[in-house]
């Protein structure tokens, strides 16, 4: 006797549970109303995801640039990013049970082109087991590049389209925006949270070099804290002008440690913070700078020879 529906029943019963978009947002809004910021961490190895989960951070996002941090290198945008990041799922999920696990995806992946390309991408991500989607790496950083790719449908508009489809499918999204215009685009497309990005993170041992900020090359970091706060506020206001329920989670630039993030909360009305280099790189660098010299300083005191 063969039963196909029986296999389906068992597969359904053992499927990876996923929080609904509403569950994530209800929890987050309850927290924001109490003045508690949403803090989420970029985690690309199990060890740092483990403590993000343990410390009760509000989401974990995986993307490929984090891997380069653990190679001891400056944060690096790796080629063909989804091929790096999608397989990271198992290692991270092993450590993450109660925290929404968000996939950073590159919307221009050549494997997911064509009319239904983005839908196939979403299916892949959800089938793998992720709970939501974020646009990383994003072309929001570099209008000069995406403007040339727009006619191929491989520019910023494709990222906005991805938000729209996720919104229609009721999938949780948080979206990087490097300018007020980008924030308005994705807020209108229905993202749950906009992530004002102040450029490549400065600070720590291999942070972004503090070169001058070019007018529309937004990967160049804002190094000055007040300037970065103004930038965050502009993007936050832009998103809220389109959708007052769009959450704002700030990231990048000089926001690298607790004092800087505290300062940001004091000087902007953003709702939270994404710690990526500020979670998995600088604290690890500091941890190693704290411990390893202590091992070196150990003295040999017993001598029988």
């Amino acid at each position: 006797m063969v039963s196909y529906s029986e296999r389906k029943r068992i597969l359904d019963a053992v499927g990876e549970p996923i929080p609904t978009r509403k569950e994530i947002l209800d929890k987050w809004w309850a927290q924001i109303k109490q003045g508690i910021p949403i803090i989420y961490a970029g985690c690309s190895v199990g060890l740092v995801a483990k403590y993000a989960e343990e410390m009760g951070l509000d989401a974990i996002v995986t993307y490929e640039t984090g891997l380069s941090r653990h190679w001891g290198m400056p944060t690096t945008l790796l080629a063909d990013p989804n091929r790096w990041s999608f397989p990271m799922y198992e290692e991270i999920r092993t450590q993450v049970v109660n925290t929404p696990l968000i996939a950073g995806v590159e919307a221009y992946d050549p494997r997911f082109q064509g009319e239904r390309g983005l839908i196939r991408m979403i299916r892949t991500v959800i089938e793998i087991g992720y709970d939501g989607i974020q646009n990383f790496p994003t072309l929001s950083f570099v209008p000069a590049i995406y403007s040339l790719r727009e006619h191929l449908n491989m520019g910023w508009k494709r990222e906005v389209e991805l938000v729209k489809i996720c919104n229609d499918l009721d999938i949780f999204t948080m979206w990087y925006a490097c300018s007020p215009e980008h924030a308005k685009d994705v807020a209108a497309a229905g993202t749950d949270a906009v992530v004002p990005h102040a450029g490549w993170t400065v600070g720590g041992q291999v942070g972004a070099p503090p070169i001058k900020r070019y007018p529309k090359t937004w990967i160049t970091p804002i190094s000055n804290l007040d300037e970065a706060c103004r930038h965050v506020q502009e993007i936050t206001d832009a998103a809220r002008s389109v959708n007052p329920k769009c959450i704002s989670l700030s990231h990048g630039g000089p926001f690298i440690d607790i004092p800087a993030v505290r300062y940001m909360f004091q000087h902007t009305t953003t709702d939270g913070f994404e710690a990526a280099s500020a979670w998995e790189r600088v604290p690890v660098e500091n941890a190693l700078a704290d411990f390893i010299p202590k091992y070196r300083a150990i003295k040999k005191t017993v001598r029988k020879k």
Binding site: W29, I32, K33, G35, I36, P37, I39, V45, G46, L47, V48, A49, K50, Y51, A52, E54, M55, G56, L57, H70, W71, G72, M73, E91, T94, Q95, R240, P244, I247, I258, V261, F265, Q266, T269, T270, D271, F273, A275, W279, P283, V284, E285, A287, L288, A289, D290, F291, I292, P293, K294, Y295, R296, A297, I298, K299, K300, T301, V302, K304, K305
Partner: protein, 308 residues
Amino acid sequence: MKPKFSRAQILERLSKRMINGDPIFVANCSAGMIAKYAEKYGADLLTVHSRGKFRYRGLPDPLPCFWWGGTNEIKGNVFEIYHEIENAIDNIPVVAGLEAYDALFRHMDKLISKATSTGYDGIYNYPTWGWYKPLRWLRDAAGFGFTRELEMIKLAHQMDVFTMAIAFWPEDAQEFVKMGADVIIAHCGWEYGFSTGGPEPGSVKFDFDAEGFRAQPKTLDESCRMIQEICDAARSVNPKQIVLAAGGPITTPENAQKVMDRVDVDGFEISHGIDVVPIEVHLRRIGKEYKSLRLNPKNPNVERVVPP
């Protein structure tokens, strides 16, 4: 480019440290990030083995496990991650942990030359089956047991490759010294005292001694006793033998110092203590600090700010 270190050069490097009266500090590296800062902050030697990535994934090292081979081929194995390690360092020797009883490496010379041609400057026996006598005898009878580890050290020594040998028993240490091991690592069993560590010593009620088993976590006292026994045994064969301590409680600078205050070893190898423990301590603190921050009361979404 990282230079290649000969056995003589590594020994000279270690003896310089010893002449100065300082302990040898060996850092077991699980990622480029760790190797980079281990070199920067003064480690003398790096070790890499196929199970280091377990730690970086936030998992315990499977020291007490039931695997009889195949580690040299697992994901993140010692050959696979060499590039990541070498990429992060400039001028420090790196020693490969090899699984000597791997069924896919019947020819020992192949295994050793694979390590040296990958770029490693020396080898040692990790993973090891030294800690569980009945099982290693069982596998010895099948041709793939602990004896292979002795053979590996012997052959590598004949090939003039720098060798270290992990020993759990005094008699093993003596055998390894006879095979020509340049360094003996007295191993105190599974590391404990942090979130992925083994159980606290004595918390598991089981007569491990009766089973010829030595991978269980041991207290500082027990560890020091064991290290001294292994150390004395090794030096009874070669009075100049370099001996390091590793495992068990040696996961923090404080505990490593306590061992160095009580035992006449030449240094220590740190594994969980160089990645998991520092990262655990710092991320727990920072996670708590992030959770204690509060939003701006002027934020239109905030109704009232609850104090941390």
